[in-house]
Amino acid sequence: MGKTIAEKIFDTHDRGKPSGNNVVLDIDVVMCHEITTPIAINDLKERDLDRVFDPEKIKVVIDHVTPSKDSKTATQAKILRDWARRQNIKDFFDIGANGVCHALFPEKGFIRPGYTVIMGDSHTCTHGAFGAFAAGVGTTDLEVGILKGVCSFRLPASMKITLTGELADGVYAKDVILYIIKKLTVNGATDKIMEFHGPVVDAMSMEARMTLCNMAIEAGGTSGICMPDKTTAEYLWPFIKGEYASVDAAVEDFKKWHSDPDAVYSSELVFDVSDLVPQVTYGTKPDEVKDISDMEGTSVDQVYIGSCTNGRIEDLREAAKVLKGKKIAPTVRGILSPATPKVYSQAMEEGLIAIFMDAGFCVTNPTCGACLGMSNGVMAAGEVCASTTNRNFYGRMGKGSMIHLMSPFSAAAAAVKGYITDPRTINA
């Protein structure tokens, strides 16, 4: 019987099956940020267990609220900073070098096909784009990960999701994943891995695959995962060129992780996305999704472009296509938060930042900030945001505020008009 990619990763990282259908996995990368890690650090200290299993396998960033906005967030940052120094963690990213974790860590080449990755953050599923098993965990799992380098998971079943056809102009990975979540519901992939296949995924860049995998959790999925291929190898090449003779050799090697043709899935779904149009959420759950034309005219107070879902260079390029030479509506506050310093400087080089600023956007430093209603764009009750983030939970971006999730292309169109509109009707 064939195996799925997840089963292959579980097999190679198996540290024992304590009981039930749980497997304890060796973890290759434990990632930490300042919101969920400080309590773990304090608890380890209290228990006299203030150590780490391997400082090289721990990656640390201050990203959720940075620069710190008040004494409490400054304390969280300090706990993390002091700990990273004390434990000799080299890969620690502070102000000036920090960015949104799920955009920053892939960019640094920390994720490889076949890896096991955990973080105290639900969108850790993003890293499945590289053919890794990457899952969000709570603080206790994180604590054990930091201390012992292991984490326990129930053997997850995998769903095979095949995307066929070709994406139309103006339709992106974000639209695809919103559509899939609508079909699966917020509970449809719970305890499952969403394995993405098909020509649409093959044609996607790593950035787009990350957008796809990022929102697996919004369908309840343990992780999203893509087969590592030439696109993966080319993205990782600067980091792996010492290990392989050529990109092709890396591609060949990555195939060992691919799901076997006779692997067993809990379900197999095929979506032809050729007729897909831009999507948007209308409610307060990520499966409450409509065609954007059905929301035409819904006015917005703020447009937010950024986050681990859509704050990468391609996202900025798509939004800039719409914004170039235009002004955003006077009723709208436009906020761009490039996800990492690299994205930021590349966007400057390409002239994208100038386009955003000329259009009337405020550009913030790389941070999560507004995405979780912490800083840099928190909204007032009754306000509405067109957002490229991943969660439209009621009040997430500020108590009593409403969020409509969409692609950067659609968000930019909403900024120009002051209301939600089909972005394809704006001549880009």
């Binding site: 259908n21 919101i35 965990v137 719970t190 969660r391």
Partner: protein, 171 residues
């Protein structure tokens, strides 16, 4: 092992997310106890008054996909510091369920029919829960008993008092 059971609090909705259980803006607290007043602050349910309803509660009874969204273990801690020891639902988001057992707390899955029965009991409902034998009794205007099943690993975590204690012994 903790003791499980007590007074019920009914939250009649699917997909209650961890932002509703504890909003992100309180995640800047560095102690579990500091979270206490903010429990379920953003949950909007007809007839639900957080401060009044939470005060006597020990067991939350809810519907499907409870605890979806963010991985924040704060959602479990805020229950813990409010004397809630058990959540009973049709299903849970994976991370939330794991966080419960990791903290030595109990998450019980029952069928939709059984959950419906609990919601219809009426009166002040009190739970007695026997983890060893995987049975529970709920006494309101009527009394009902159900059996449930626990993953044996999760049961081991309850006995050990959580994942850290367990992992520290074995790995």
């Amino acid at each position: 092992m903790k003791t499980f059971g007590g007074q019920a609090l009914f939250l009649d909705r699917n997909d209650i997310n961890t932002d509703e259980i504890i909003p992100a803006k309180y995640l800047t607290e560095n102690s579990k106890l500091a979270l206490k007043p903010y429990v379920l602050e953003d949950l909007k349910l007809p007839g639900f008054n957080v401060q009044e309803d939470i005060a006597r509660a020990n067991v939350v009874v809810t519907r499907a996909n409870f605890g979806c969204g963010s991985s924040r273990e704060h959602a479990v801690w805020v229950f813990e510091v409010n004397n809630i020891n058990t959540v009973i639902g049709e299903s849970f988001a994976r991370i939330f369920r794991q966080n419960m057992f990791n903290c030595g707390m109990l998450a019980i899955e029952l069928s939709k029919e059984d959950i419906d029965t609990l919601f219809q009991l009426g009166g002040d409902v009190i739970f007695s829960i026997d983890v060893e034998n995987e049975t529970l009794t709920a006494k309101g205007n009527k009394e009902v008993s159900f059996s449930f099943s626990l993953n044996s690993f999760d049961k081991d975590l309850l006995v050990a008092g959580g994942w850290l204690a367990y992992a520290d012994q074995k790995f």
